[in-house]
């Protein structure tokens, strides 16, 4: 029986039920600070080379998210890809996120990895509705379909994309389904009726 300093033995009946929950719920695991800052070599190089481009840096679960100025995106990507010390040669993912309440409503996220060096960094830019985002298809060919998908589902136009057309939705589709105001069931259910 562990010693109980506050009250010796007078309230055991009342206290008895209390310890089991405390035992079955053993101290919540040590809280890890998910937003803790981590050291990032690509970020340091980026800050040295393009001090004006980095607008904001945030950390989450060991990942580094860098918000860039839209104009600097392509030169930054080229630098990260070609720099012999970084070699972030692999664009794993590119996607848009819709924040309708912000003046610049779309955030485009680029998840970069380096195959030879094992680095990773996430880049972001923000664009307003209808404002074209720079295309990175010239840097990585894999961006082609990802950008087409962001155009298709969110309606973000990409400047300099060689073949910007819908990819998942039918060509004649109206609207962009991943936008927050787009109802999950769609605007028009007529296409589900049997003709």
């Amino acid at each position: 029986m562990p010693p109980q300093p506050p009250s010796g033995g007078s309230p055991p009946p009342a206290e008895k039920p209390a310890p089991p929950p405390a035992a079955s719920r053993p101290a919540p695991p040590p809280k890890v600070d998910l937003a803790a800052e981590v050291e990032s070599i690509p970020l340091r190089a980026l800050r040295e080379k393009f001090p004006q481009a980095v607008l904001e840096v945030s950390y989450f679960a060991g990942e580094v998210n860098v918000l860039l100025r839209k104009e600097d995106l392509e030169p930054v990507c080229r630098f990260l890809k070609d720099d012999p010390a970084l070699r972030l040669d692999y664009l794993s993912n590119l996607c848009g996120v819709d924040y309708p309440d912000r003046p610049q409503r779309f955030e485009i996220v680029y998840h970069l990895f380096s195959i030879p060096r094992r680095y990773r960094i996430n880049l972001k830019i923000r664009v307003a509705d209808g404002e074209p985002a720079p295309s990175v298809t010239g840097v990585w060919r894999t961006a082609n379909w990802h950008e087409r998908e962001a155009f298709d589902l969110l309606g973000i136009p990409f400047e300099g994309h060689p073949d910007l057309r819908r990819i998942l939705m039918p060509d004649e589709w109206q609207g962009h389904p991943l936008r927050k105001e787009y109802p999950t069931k769609g605007y028009d259910r007529d296409h589900l009726k049997l003709r």
Binding site: R25, P28, H111, N122, W140, R141, W145, I167, M169
Partner: protein, 365 residues
């Protein structure tokens, strides 16, 4: 005077060798493919949009329906991403069981690939052999989680239940018999002259192109790039196992065949080690009933049988994700198809679709 004209040929969406509803528009010069337009989206179900309306535990069954040939990996990647978002530590036993089931799934998925790929090229026998062994794995999965295809086998924080009695011995039995069965496929294909003729030098994808196109998985390693997420960015408990990463030398369809065959042997090695060191204890961590991750965003990747499976979740502190993105390997790998078939014959297109090992549910989401 004679003159020639280019011809547009439509292949799919209803075509047995497109593995689902893939449509290709081939521009042909005689029988040579000069350009390909890949048209996808026939199976688009808007899963990313649906996920924004579902709570975190409700999303897991949806992930099963993306890559239905390797649903364990979709489950694994998804629950690991949410765990990373919440900072949850999963009990060791659960991690080991996840590794065992996931590697079994890799073998099952490669068996489907081998069977259908060989069937497309004209070797029918292999298909029946592969599905015979896949059946054993599906029976194991059925005993483990009750389902044979769409498992919903893991939970955020661990596993819903422990292994059923006798399961470990059944897996050991499978690990014992499978190498002999794999030799049978070897004897049917590896030195088969027709197989060599249909796969050697077909669909060449070099390293720089593969990385540029974002191709991952066996197709990337067949291009000679040593990149396996289980080793490059180890997740779960993969850093504790010994295994080799096979690499290709000729970058062609035959190499990708050899690599997937070798990967099955390496998966067996991992399963063997995991079974030998399977720890006891709990299988579920303490997670709240109502899962509400903090505000933040994570991108987590796991090495699926087809390549890198990425999961991007943006959380606003709600019990539903604000944005859910599935980076599917089939979608990205398929993008390299026009490059790989340029200048080859129409019959080779069939071989290249097979070697890319796409699942249309994963491509279209």
């Amino acid at each position: 005077m004679f003159r020639t004209e280019m011809m547009d040929i439509n292949m799919g969406p209803q075509h047995p060798s497109t593995h689902g509803v893939l449509r290709l528009k081939l521009l042909l010069d005689g029988e040579t493919v000069t350009d390909t337009d890949v048209l996808i989206g026939y199976l688009h179900r808007g899963v990313e949009k649906l996920c924004e309306t579902k709570t975190y535990p409700m999303i897991e069954p949806y992930t099963d329906r993306l890559d239905y040939v390797a649903a364990m990996y979709e489950n694994l990647g998804y629950v690991e991403t949410v765990e990373k978002l919440m900072g949850v530590k999963v009990p060791e036993r659960a991690e080991y069981i996840r590794v065992i089931t996931a590697e079994l799934q890799r073998i099952a998925s490669h068996l489907v690939w081998l069977g259908t790929h060989a069937l497309d090229i004209g070797a029918m026998t292999v298909f029946f052999y592969c599905f015979r062994e896949r059946e054993i794995i599906l029976d194991l999965f059925e005993a483990f989680c009750g389902a044979r295809l769409t498992y919903n086998a893991y939970r955020i924080g661990g596993l819903p239940w422990d292994l059923p009695p006798g399961w470990v011995d059944r897996v050991r039995h499978f690990v014992g018999i499978f190498p002999g069965r794999q030799k049978e496929y070897d004897t049917l294909l590896t030195r088969n002259r027709i197989w060599l003729g249909r796969t050697k030098g077909v669909g060449i994808l070099k390293a720089e192109d593969a990385v540029d196109f974002g191709v991952t998985g066996p197709c990337l390693r067949a291009a000679g790039v040593d990149y396996d997420l289980r080793r490059a960015h180890p997740y779960s408990v993969y850093d504790r196992f010994q295994f080799d990463v096979p690499l290709g030398e000729n970058f062609d369809t035959y190499d990708r065949y050899l690599i997937r065959m070798e990967e099955m042997r390496q998966s067996l090695r991992i399963i063997q080690q995991a079974l030998d060191h399977l720890p006891g204890g709990e299988v579920m961590a303490k997670v709240p009933k109502r899962i509400k991750p903090p505000v933040g965003e994570v991108y987590h990747t796991v090495e699926g049988p087809r390549g890198e499976l990425g999961f991007y979740i943006v959380s606003q502190g709600d019990d539903k994700p604000y944005r859910m993105r599935f980076r599917s390997p089939s979608f990205v790998n398929l993008q390299a198809l026009p490059h790989m078939v340029r200048g080859s014959l129409v019959a080779d297109v069939v071989a290249v679709i097979g070697t890319l090992d796409i699942v249309l549910g994963d491509v279209d989401r």
